[in-house]
């Protein structure tokens, strides 16, 4: 079997990548695998997935690799896609926003779900609960007004005001 990239040497490195329900196979010779940085298979596939560009196993491979990438750079820490490709790790917490494209494809292969359902810092949790409570009160107020239940409406208005005063912003 010949290398997919140089098409000259015997392929010694065989990568199988499963994205969703599609399987792709890439066969590389030792030299090309080194050149492509396929030392650590884990970070390699992560990077490919994150960048949303898996190695095409067809004829287009060499040309596609030659096209220079338009580099996205994290405005907070200066991290680039190339850096991620190399390290398999991000530069700072804002990189999750900078490199959001393709992130969920990668996360799907790693985790049970795409949404955090665990612990939330208390301050955030309280703020969240306050917002929720405010919404409920607003609804009850609208209902009370609609039903011309003005005594309850007045009470609710006071409560909403108190809540808003307590939590600025």
């Amino acid at each position: 079997m010949l290398c997919n990239v140089c098409k000259q040497n015997e392929a010694k490195v065989h990568l199988t990548q499963i994205i969703g329900d599609k399987m792709q196979k890439v066969d590389l010779c030792e030299e090309c695998s080194k050149e492509k940085g396929v030392g650590d298979p884990a970070s390699y596939s992560l990077a490919e997935l994150l960048l949303g560009q898996s190695l095409p196993a067809d004829e287009a491979a060499p040309e596609a690799a030659a096209v220079p990438e338009t580099e996205t750079k994290c405005p907070t820490c200066g991290y680039t896609q190339a850096d991620f490709k190399k390290a398999g790790r991000f530069g700072c917490s804002d990189c999750y926003v900078t490199f959001a494209d393709g992130l969920s494809t990668m996360l799907k292969t790693m985790h049970k779900g795409l949404r955090h359902t665990g612990k939330v810092p208390a301050a955030l949790q309280q703020a969240r609960e306050a917002v929720q409570k405010l919404k409920t009160l607003q609804k009850r107020l609208e209902k009370a007004v609609a039903e011309e239940n003005f005594e309850e409406a007045a009470q609710l208005r006071d409560e909403i005001k108190r809540l808003k005063d307590k939590a600025p912003a």
Partner: protein, 358 residues
């Protein structure tokens, strides 16, 4: 106070017991946390890392749960100090390799410790003997909740705690237990168990974590997925898997004893023979033979040897702990000789193993 004065002596450390500690050597929960908008340790330049350490270390030191504590910058610890900490499982081998800009804070009980600027800004760990994952989680949850009021954590409502490596994203939690599984290894069932654990998305690693060998038949089982499940759910799921592995190990031991008792006694008897009589022995051979000795204790073949004594021998024969007993710097060959001397001495009063009375 230096780290050696702070750490409890191995003889005391090894008195600790916990539920299921016949098979489960220890439990651990770690959380990965980072500060918002600041470069992760691997990407941060040295001045950034130093500033981060300056901000994080005092916050950790001030926690009520960490009183009293030992706290140090990694460049203030010698390679020897760090190796001692690795052998006690208090820091990772990766953290031991860090220098200026990284730090370490440990509480008196050695049950909570924080690595600063390892792969993430904070790697908080909670450790207990035996199988105590829930207790580990409670302790670390409380510590983390106190700390979040002092530090500006990187947190996204959707993605959870933001970590340097996306594999830790979400809860940032790694729950793990260290298991002694000689029965499954002898019965050649261990590969099946590892594959089954992997299928459930649990990682099985060696004694010192990532990329290490399962010396002494000790395996670390941990969760891999951190996003999309809550911490208690993850703990529940891994606890179920661990209980199954424990049951499989007990079964494997029972079946071996029933079907191939001579094979088991032969292994244990030979292990005792070498450990009690060798004049030079490597740390690797020691660990593998000590594993069989421990199996013998579990099976009731050593009436006068307690598991705590075994724990102490296991720890004291590790390279840095062995070196610690000598003032002069030992080479590898000398260490092997001293290790054998120590083992002969420790096992002198231990009578040879007898088949268990059934």
């Amino acid at each position: 106070m230096n780290i050696h004065e702070f750490l409890v002596p191995p003889a005391v450390f090894c008195q600790r017991t916990g539920p299921q500690d016949r098979i489960v050597m220890s439990s651990r929960v770690r959380l990965a946390r980072n500060l918002r908008k600041l470069p992760f340790p691997a990407w941060a330049k040295k001045p950034d890392r130093l500033r981060l350490l300056e901000a994080i270390q005092p916050a950790v030191e001030s926690l009520p749960q960490m009183q009293p504590h030992f706290s140090a910058a990694m460049d203030d610890l010698t390679p020897f100090d760090k190796q001692i900490l690795v052998e006690r499982h208090l820091i990772s081998r990766e953290h031991a390799a860090k220098g200026a800009g990284s730090g370490f804070v440990l509480n008196r009980e050695e049950s909570l410790c924080v690595m600063i600027n390892e792969e993430d800004h904070l790697r908080i760990q909670s450790l207990r003997p035996g199988l105590q994952l829930k207790a580990c989680w409670q302790a670390i949850d409380e510590l983390d909740s106190t700390l979040e009021a002092k530090l500006d954590y990187a947190f996204s409502p959707e993605l959870g705690y933001l970590t340097a490596c996306p594999t830790n994203l979400g809860t940032g939690i790694r729950v793990s237990a260290m298991l002694h599984l000689p029965g499954l290894v002898l019965a050649e069932e261990i590969t099946r168990i590892i594959n089954a654990a992997n299928k459930l998305n649990f990682a099985v690693r060696g004694l010192y974590g990532e990329g290490t060998e399962a010396l002494g038949n000790v395996f670390q089982v941990s969760n891999q997925m951190t996003l999309g499940e809550s911490e208690p759910q993850i703990i529940e799921r891994i606890s179920k898997a661990l209980n199954q592995i424990i049951e499989e190990e007990e079964n494997a031991r029972a079946i071996l004893l029933e079907k191939k008792p001579k094979v088991v006694f032969n292994h244990i008897g030979r292990a005792y023979g070498i450990l009690a009589n060798a004049h030079t022995i490597s740390s690797k051979e020691t660990m593998n033979l000590l594993s069989l000795l421990r199996l013998g204790i579990d099976l009731g073949m050593f009436a006068s040897l307690e598991r705590s004594q075994w724990d102490e021998i296991f720890l004291l024969t590790q390279p840095a702990h062995l070196q610690k007993q000598f003032t002069e710097k030992l080479g590898a060959d000398e260490r092997d000789i001293h290790r054998a001397d120590m083992l002969r001495d420790r096992l002198r009063a231990v009578p040879r193993p007898l088949p268990p009375k059934s």
